[in-house]
């Protein structure tokens, strides 16, 4: 019995190294595979820019970067040649947005329309990711404020500074479904401290639907629609819809589009869009975005 036992041990000992020899897989990398823990990795680049067209997108600026944005909205195309299809008139907004953390950004802007100054802060508690504890969607929250800079419409009555102010609050729920398709919905509330007419409500509720279809590596088709559910005046106002193309040219992103809204901040385009797509009151517009690196990127930035 002892002998048999010894024989078994010896034969195992002799055979072992030959097994090892057989195990010499031509794929050496397999030898060190498999013992890594799966990592949580953020899904990036859902949109080319932190704005779909007018609305905020689920995407954020990289930390340490500044996005200088110049936005133009021209006149209505159906004005014909006399106004050169609207290009004779232009309304613009200039903005500076700053990436602070991978999920925090803030910005300010000034529009010619109503000489309005606006500012916002945007934060994402949840970002779309893969791996353990991942989320299928990004949830971003935006809070913004606008300040009307025009003269009082009625200087006779007692006017308060606060009447110039309006606020907006937005939750963006978005998902990059694939490399080429991104969709987001954004319930939004706009509060105006002063409504124009007595019967106009101060609170306006809307739902934004924005998306992107990538056509090539550098060109994408985008749309940006806000449906105003509560607070839309009975006549003369419409739901803002913009459709366009994002074109990326190395350092710049051009967002060329057609829209029925003139306003370029949430208060203006959600509550004061007076043109009707149905009647062909469409404007051409573009956003030009140039991102500057203002703080050197730290190496070894966490993937999460």
């Amino acid at each position: 019995m002892k002998k048999l036992f010894r024989r078994i041990i010896i034969s195992v000992m002799v055979l072992l190294p030959s097994f090892q020899l057989m195990a010499q897989d031509p794929d050496l990398l397999k030898l060190i595979e498999g013992d890594e823990k799966p990592e949580k990795i953020r899904i990036k680049y859902a949109f080319k820019s932190p704005r779909v067209i007018n609305s905020h997108s689920m995407e954020f600026l990289n930390p340490g970067t500044m996005d200088f944005r110049i936005l133009h909205r021209f006149g209505q195309i159906n004005q014909g040649y006399k106004n050169f299809f609207g290009l004779d008139q232009a309304s613009m907004r200039m903005g500076f947005d700053f990436g602070i953390l991978h999920n925090l950004m803030a910005g300010i802007g000034r529009s010619t329309y109503k000489k309005e100054l606006d500012g916002f802060i945007k934060y994402a508690p949840i970002r779309q990711s893969t791996g353990p504890w991942s989320s299928p969607v990004t949830l971003a929250l935006v809070a913004g404020m606008t300040m009307d800079g025009t003269d009082w419409s009625d200087p006779e009555r007692q006017n308060f500074f606060t009447s110039r102010l309006a606020y907006y609050f937005q939750a963006i729920i978005g998902r990059k479904f694939s490399e080429s398709f991104t969709l987001q919905v954004a319930p939004t509330m706009v509060h105006k401290n002063l409504a124009v007419l007595e019967k106009d409500p101060n609170n306006i509720y809307a739902l934004g639907i924005g998306g992107r279809i990538k056509l090539s590596k550098r060109i994408a088709f985008t749309w940006d629609y806000s449906h105003v559910f509560i607070g839309m005046p009975d006549s003369g106002y419409y739901h803002p819809l913009s459709v366009g193309f994002d074109i990326e040219t190395g350092g710049h992103v051009f967002q060329l589009h057609f829209s029925n809204s003139t306003g370029m901040n949430e208060r203006a385009f959600i509550t004061e869009t007076t043109a009707n797509w149905g009647k062909g009151d469409i404007r051409f517009g573009f956003n030009l975005s140039r991102v500057f690196q203002i703080k050197k990127k730290k190496s070894g930035e966490p993937k999460w």
Partner: protein
């Protein structure tokens, strides 16, 4: 019983000689596609390349995740991943090759060895054969492996649009630097 001990020892000694392998999981790969006329440096670095080398046969393999390349400017990193190497479609780049005349050098001895490495490199889903000179420095049972070579981006179907042609070079310099440690429990 004495025989058994002797036999075991013998087996252990011989198995130690069988294709001792070395590896790393944090090899450094530098990528530089700065054009001579470019005002800014187009370069990235990846510090988590994996490499396994078989000292006996001279077989050497690398793998690197393209998303792991870090650039000084975030926008450059975005363009690298989105527009050039398409890291979602082709997440990994690999090299599988061999150190030429591996049997002529004894990597169990400390020293510096100049070697030639030849093999297939796969980037952006395209495979090409490359040959380069490298340096192996053996010290205290570890191997430092360094190599530098250039690849033509068009060979890997990575196109450079005319608009950035003055910044991004048509060839990229790739520098590899790994500190390989003995692979245990093989």
């Amino acid at each position: 019983m004495k025989n058994l001990v002797g036999l075991t020892l013998l087996i252990f000694l011989t198995s130690a000689g069988y294709g001792q392998k070395f590896f790393t999981k944090n090899g450094k790969i530098n990528f530089d596609a700065t054009s001579s006329s470019s005002p800014e440096r187009i370069e990235g670095v990846n510090r988590s390349a994996t490499c396994v080398m078989d000292a006996k046969s001279g077989a050497i393999q690398f793998a690197v995740l393209m998303k792991g390349f870090e650039f000084e400017r975030a926008l450059m990193e975005e363009h690298f991943n989105e527009n050039y190497v398409e890291s979602n479609k082709y997440p990994k780049s690999e090299f599988k090759g061999k150190v030429k005349d591996a049997d002529e050098i004894d990597l169990s001895k400390d020293g510096t060895y100049k070697v030639k490495v030849k093999g297939d490199i796969t980037i952006h889903g395209e495979t090409k054969e490359v040959e380069t000179e490298g340096k192996l420095v053996v010290q205290n049972g570890k191997i430092n492996a360094d190599a530098e070579f250039s690849v033509k981006l068009s060979d890997f179907k990575i196109s450079i649009p005319g608009l950035v042609a003055d910044k991004v070079s048509k060839t990229a310099k790739i520098a590899v630097s790994c500190s390989l440690e003995p692979l245990k429990n093989q």
